[in-house]
Amino acid sequence: MSQQQRPAPGRVIPAPENHVTPEQYAQARTGRRGFMQQAALATGGMLAAAVGAPALGQTAKAAAAAEPPHLPSWTRSLGPGVAVTGYGLPSKFESAVQRRQSPGLTRTPQSSVSFTPLQNLFGIITPSGVHFERHHSGVAEINPHDHRLMIHGLVQRPLILSMDDILRFPSVSRMHFIECGANSGMEWGNVAVPTVQYTHGMLACSEFTGVLLSTLLEEVGYDKARGKYILAEGADGSALTRTIPVEFALDDVMVVYGQNGEMLRPENGYPLRLLVPGVQGVSSVKWLRRLEVGDKPWNTREESLHYVDLLPDGTHRQYSGVQEVKSVITTPSGGQKLTTKGFYEISGLAWSGRGKIRRVDVSTDGGRNWRTAVLQDPVMTKCLTRFRIDWNWDGSPAYLQSRAVDDTGHVQPAISALRAVRGTRSIYHNNAIKTWAVQPNGEVWNVQVA
């Protein structure tokens, strides 16, 4: 732009459309550009190389096309404009990051579970789109304007609240994990599944926004003398019910509508769910429509036929909600392959339903010797904590383990210690130390060790 063309101060500068040809503009609007095809081919080649034999030499060769003096096509062309996608999606090159089912685990997808791809995630927040799912009668698709929450029972003023009402109450935002009580349940007897997605993927962590349940209980004037338990019920086809002790309800239980800055996803209970921090996920009833204050626990199906822990003597532990201290290494972990010898960062997640993570130790020799890992800030109560530690792999067999300690002093136990008390048929609450075996060929596999 020459000095003569420059508009006077205060004048509007012409939009950049003036500087591209109509053909370029049309291309940019539709997003159809030749380089997309080239990029797809290039990535296909890289995938093939990685899948076949991800030796260092080959990946370096595949990458050579990107080295100087090469100038990629995206540097030499105009990209699509803003708002081409009103709600952005991950790059198409991230298609490996998916929720997945464990084949054969359940008969139908409506009463089933999908697992969070922990092996692909960084930090502690689970992107809402890959938050694990557990439904008992499929996903309820609810118009929030047609949704109501009823609060009744031992209360002075039984109440029906619309979403408009609930959004008016004073709100809180807190970061908490949700872990299914059956997470790692397939590992009680022996190794059964290949990756951390399937061993530990009924786990997620989000920033939740909603109203403290204590606020709502005060509002309805609950009976403080006799009201000891609260029944929470979902609006889905299973109308799932769980008993929540008032001890939890008054502490930090929330009635949640927000997750990671937006409304809950339908799979996670849109428009309203309960969140019982630190307690097995089934208590955080999704599609919440009813809360009843009572003087006794309800002994619901999800508290008698399921979500009870079978002990060796045939007794079931009932109302066993708290998710105890636990950790797992996510990289490297089962089903992965180390591409070369040398430096690696071992990284994983630790959490406790009783409070904060105080410390995580890591062993690379199957639990004989341990080093203390670095905890990534922030470390929050009943929330995932990311840990990391340096490691130099010399190509010999290694057995990777992590061991978490929470701020009550509870130390994550070995699987042998858990089995000695609870046997192998408990299904629920397996918080054992997890072992990944690194083979000399770089492959990492799920194992259990004594």
């Binding site: 990685a50 403080k224 299973s238 002790p245 036929l305 532990r317 105890e324």
Partner: protein
């Protein structure tokens, strides 16, 4: 519609009142915010469906074992089997020993092998409550209260807990003695944040244990059972997914055939996805009998009887829509009116490919 408008108007009015009132009232005696509308006894009666073991919430009504069998055969057997024996879900009946009824402890649970509704459950009210709120699975809350008593009685009878001439009602349901009524404990540390853990790890840091002994590994034949792990890990960075197709018997050769042999998509939607989404697979498998015949058997029957393919397709589509019983066995197939016509055709076309 009218309800929500009324609710919103009332909320605004109540909020205005509450704003005035809040200067004077605190705590639980009066509402601090005044949002929402009061839940009337009628409101509560329609939504409050729970039934507790102590009789709280028990509904007036009755039903006999005999009446329950009719309900069960029509609406439940399709998934749970004629005698409650199907293991597609938690098995409904079986494993209860006569001695269990006296002790209140199901002996079969010691081995952990005999987990059924009969051996696990401690109260009959819980069975009533669950059926009433969540069953039949595809039409929850469609049973009447009397039907619910009847079918609950029948399930108890299948477990030999009540006799064939038993009537379950709002009185008797509180007295039924379940085989595992004494089989539960709350004496553990996981019921409270302040609870004491039953298993504590050790904090040893150096020379803690003997040589590592591997006690369990994933068999090679199972390593590709969750799909190719190379496609489940980001192909960037120091850790890549293992190409587990190489662990299949036959290795890489099988891997190539795998991508070519998939069921063909019809009209852009995969038939296999449709039979899963529409829950056909609850009762039908490709090559094995579950509750209903296998898809291969159905295909063989229709393609052998009707030379004209279009005719066979139309007949099978109509059969699936209408449901029926007696052709393959006594357990009826309920009408599948929820499946779209186009999807039904895709499914039927795929079924017939199984005979080619």
């Amino acid at each position: 519609m009218s309800r929500s408008r009324k609710a919103f108007g009332a909320a605004v009015a109540a909020a205005t009142l509450a704003a005035v009132a809040s200067a004077f009232a605190q705590g639980g005696d009066r509402p601090r915010f005044g949002f929402g509308v009061p839940a009337t006894p009628q409101d509560i009666a329609t939504w409050d469906i729970d039934m507790r073991p102590d009789g709280h919430g028990v509904k007036k009504g009755r039903g006999t074992v005999q009446q329950g069998q009719a309900v069960y055969d029509a609406k439940c057997a399709v998934c749970h089997g004629t005698f409650g024996e199907s293991n597609s879900y938690l098995v409904i009946a079986g494993g209860v020993e006569p001695e269990d009824l006296k002790t209140g402890r199901a002996a079969g649970l010691k081995s952990g092998e005999v987990r059924t509704v009969g051996t696990k459950l401690n109260y009959a009210t819980t069975l009533w409550d669950y059926i009433y709120r969540a069953m039949p699975w595809t039409a929850p809350q469609s049973l009447t209260i009397d039907e619910n008593y009847a079918v609950t009685a029948y399930v108890l009878h299948l477990n030999e807990i009540v006799p064939a001439d038993f009537e379950l009602n709002d009185q008797t349901i509180l007295t039924v003695q379940m085989p595992n009524r004494n089989g539960f404990t709350t004496h553990h540390g996981m019921g409270s944040v302040k609870g004491k853990p039953d298993v504590q790890g050790t904090l040893c840091m150096k020379d803690c244990a003997g040589p590592v002994k591997v006690t369990s590994t994933l068999p090679e034949y199972a390593r590709n059972a969750h799909g190719n792990l190379a496609e489940q890990k980001r192909d960037m960075g120091p850790f890549r997914g293992i190409d587990t197709r190489l662990y299949e018997p036959g290795g890489a050769r099988v891997a190539v055939a795998d991508t070519e042999g998939k069921a063909p998509a019809q009209g852009g939607i995969d038939a296999q996805e449709l039979i899963t989404r529409n829950a056909c697979v609850v009762c039908h498998a490709v090559n094995a009998r579950i509750v209903g015949p296998s898809f291969a058997e159905i295909s063989a029957r229709y393609t052998s009887r009707y030379a004209v393919r279009a005719e066979a397709e139309t007949l099978l589509v109509n059969k699936i829509k209408a449901g029926g019983s007696g052709v393959w066995g006594a357990v009826p197939m309920p009408p599948q009116s929820n499946v779209k016509d186009e999807e039904m055709k895709t499914i039927v076309k795929w079924i017939f490919t199984l005979t080619q």
